[in-house]
Symmetry: C2
Subunit: 450 residues, 2 copies
């Protein structure tokens, strides 16, 4: 936990539906405006007004086609399809804000590190140092098929490639151009000193990249690194690479165990374990009174699209949940795809049925849903922040843009009054805002260069 107050992200996606499947049908919901630039500039202004560190963009490649072995339910119900590339929203949102950051999900499975390194260096320049890279390895067969791979790589192979991918990126971002390589000497006619621009000469199993990097150093050099490792291999990856971790475990006990495990693994990688930040998701549904909050929550629940949720979860766990009886109790699933989402509901004391799981998961998958007055919601966040020891929250949207605007208008003032949320941004770059430092921590492998 850092001592500058809690950190907040809006957790969203450049699509009609993200995780609250069916919410676009709610009267007044503006999710169908996702393809409109002005929708996002409004979101950016609101999030900055609320002191959010950033907007976190999830993304997925491919179309979910596991449920009923068919993509039609997904297309009909807009289950993360259609979706646009989130990175192209960021420059417009940066234009209307000064300090708000942007976490962008990109997959290491379908691009090349020399390409991705240039994209993030550019984005870091364009945003004055306000971008983060959420590293994912992709999991949908339909993405692999469309992007030229005969078959999706298996889980460990994806992570092997991702590990080498990151090492190439670190070398390009951190080691290729020295701090004083750009001299801008008009009289002498020298823009850069070639003696301080180095090849990286990477020659590995997946990539051969001689370098040098084609971009001069951006404000942060390496974007803030996010990850959400859940499997053993994923946790190892996060422990080595992540500066901030998105936590999908739903209960305080599970979150505590997860954080302890990741910190221990980080220490084994030679890192300062306290340099990692942890962000669970949360769905805040807030009203001026308990009754108003409960009425909102009820209305949102009424619009959950249960079949759509099952189509989404089927893609997450790579198993056709349409084959299960809706009233059947769910069991633990062994899967290489996204773990935890369904397993969080399996085998616990609550004994969820498939339908109950879908109805609950329809408001933000496994994240806690907090319904109440501004004081009650602030109490719950304070509990997670002070007692469980998380560093902040990814605010998930039950309604767009009401979840965000309600939170900023009602909960943010309460948090600020309690001294739990800073009054203004302290740093210039996203890493300064989040982590209080301008560069990767010196114990981070990308900085150590090992």
């Amino acid at each position: 936990m850092t001592d500058d107050g809690m950190h907040l992200n809006l957790f969203t996606m450049n699509s009609v539906e993200h995780v609250t499947v069916g919410s676009w049908r709610h009267p007044g919901d503006q999710s169908t405006r996702y393809s409109d630039r002005e929708y996002w500039t409004e979101v950016a202004r609101t999030a900055e007004r609320g002191g959010f560190d950033g907007v976190f963009f999830a993304d997925v490649r491919g179309i979910y086609d596991v449920y009923e072995d068919d993509r039609d339910p997904t297309i009909e119900r807009a289950v993360q399809t259609p979706s646009n590339d989130p990175a192209y929203l960021v420059p417009a949102m940066a234009e209307v804000t000064d300090r708000l950051g942007f976490a962008i999900t990109k997959s290491t499975s379908y691009t090349h590190p020399y390409q991705l390194a240039r994209e993030f260096s550019t984005l870091d320049h364009v945003t004055d140092g306000r971008v983060a890279f959420n590293v994912v390895t992709s999991y949908l067969e339909s993405a692999a098929a469309n992007l030229g791979l005969d078959a999706r790589m298996d889980h460990d192979e994806r992570y092997d490639r991702a590990a080498e991918f990151m090492d190439v990126c670190y070398a390009l971002w951190e080691d290729s151009w020295e701090d004083d390589a750009v001299v801008r000497d008009r009289e002498g006619g020298r823009f850069s000193d070639p003696g301080k621009v180095h090849a990286i000469d990477h020659d590995g199993e997946h990539f051969a990249v001689p370098g040098p990097h084609g971009c001069e150093p951006s404000p942060q050099r390496t974007p803030v690194i996010y990850q959400a490792g859940s499997s053993d291999r994923g946790r190892e990856f996060a422990a080595r690479n992540a500066e901030a971790v998105f936590v999908s475990q739903p209960t305080p006990g599970q979150v505590t165990d997860y954080m302890a495990d990741l910190r221990e693994r980080a220490a084994e990688h030679g890192r300062d374990p306290d340099e990692l930040l942890f962000f669970p998701g949360i769905v805040p549904i807030v009203g001026a009174t308990e009754e108003l909050a409960e009425a909102k929550a009820e209305s949102y629940r009424d619009h959950v699209d249960v079949e759509g949720v099952l189509a989404l979860l089927s893609g997450f766990v790579d198993m056709d949940l349409s084959e299960l009886d809706p009233d059947q109790r769910i069991e633990r699933i062994e899967t290489e795809a996204i773990q935890g989402t369904v397993n969080a509901f399996a085998g616990g004391e609550s004994e969820w049925t498939v339908r109950e799981m879908a109805e609950f998961a329809g408001l933000g998958t496994t994240s806690p849903v907090v319904v109440g007055t501004p004081e009650q919601v602030a109490d719950e966040l304070a509990y997670w922040y002070e007692e469980v020891g998380v560093d902040g929250f990814n605010v998930k949207e039950a309604a767009r843009p009401d979840t965000l605007s309600d939170f900023v208008d009602m909960v943010v003032p309460e948090l600020r009054e309690r001294g739990l949320l800073r009054e203004r941004y302290e740093g210039d770059t996203l890493r300064e805002t989040m982590l209080g430092r301008p560069r990767l921590h010196e114990s981070h492998p990308g900085r150590r260069g090992d």
Copy 2:
């Protein structure tokens, strides 16, 4: 020629230097601000004030290392290195303008059509239909080495791949989602009608892409297609695919021949030859009096970096021009790389030496440099537009941002007074502005689906 007046693009690059190598050293030049978002939003506002159709972003992958067989001269002199990805400037520039378009250069050699199709669909949504795709196939060995290819593909192989690449993109953009596939039926819970979202089932030599496209149709569907084919194979590609062609031939006679050839080839592809627009480059250096204009031109010429120009041209033609005596007369070069640039100077009646070529090319490679009063510059543009029959101009920058702001402040009013440039934008999308139609022409192969 269209009858709605001439079309103007600013021709630029997200880098310190584009084609006027050395100009960043000129007092007051702001090229070193290329990594600053505000530089570009100012450019966008100025270009829109001047009624420009768009800002055309060149781009290159890799670092020029042919001259002296070394990348150091390129890095030292900022010869298109460092350079950032231009596409991420576009959403910020779109945010501060209403009608200005953006042509983005992307290579078909280092990305996948399913990926690129999503990027342009997103950009078209984010800009409300104001993007163009300048199709290039890339030519630098250093790019191939960094992006995972053992060797650069040969020229014809690059074009074979590019041809299939475009066919995949057209299928995703034009054929996958029917016009009424998105129904947004809140009551019925149907966002899209899956019966109107189609697989494309492409299975070709270079790509296998089942589809469907992951994005709903954007305002233009297919971005406006630019190309600059110069070789025989390149001309064939442009004749089949391009809606607008960037012309690099320097003399009226060469331009006339080129346009006639491309129109003939377009007709052979079953296209209406009049649907193609032609844009030569031009470097306007304008002053309130002839003396002021000439003084500016002289000052710009004084800052040309001859060695930097030769490093750039060596990369263009893939031949080390440092091996030639600067006072040697140049001869025609047979090359698979960018043709025309050096050959334009070779073997003509003017008998250029290497040094003379570099000094001239330093103000915009082979494009005509027009120096004079607003009236004189307008006379020259009118001649090209009315007599040679080009459709407009790519305005190349001898100084940033002065070339653009001088042109907009002094030449644009003169062109408008003569009825050569429209007073306001007529269409909403870039294709409407440029071509007077909302979609690809019905005779275009991307529309015909053959």
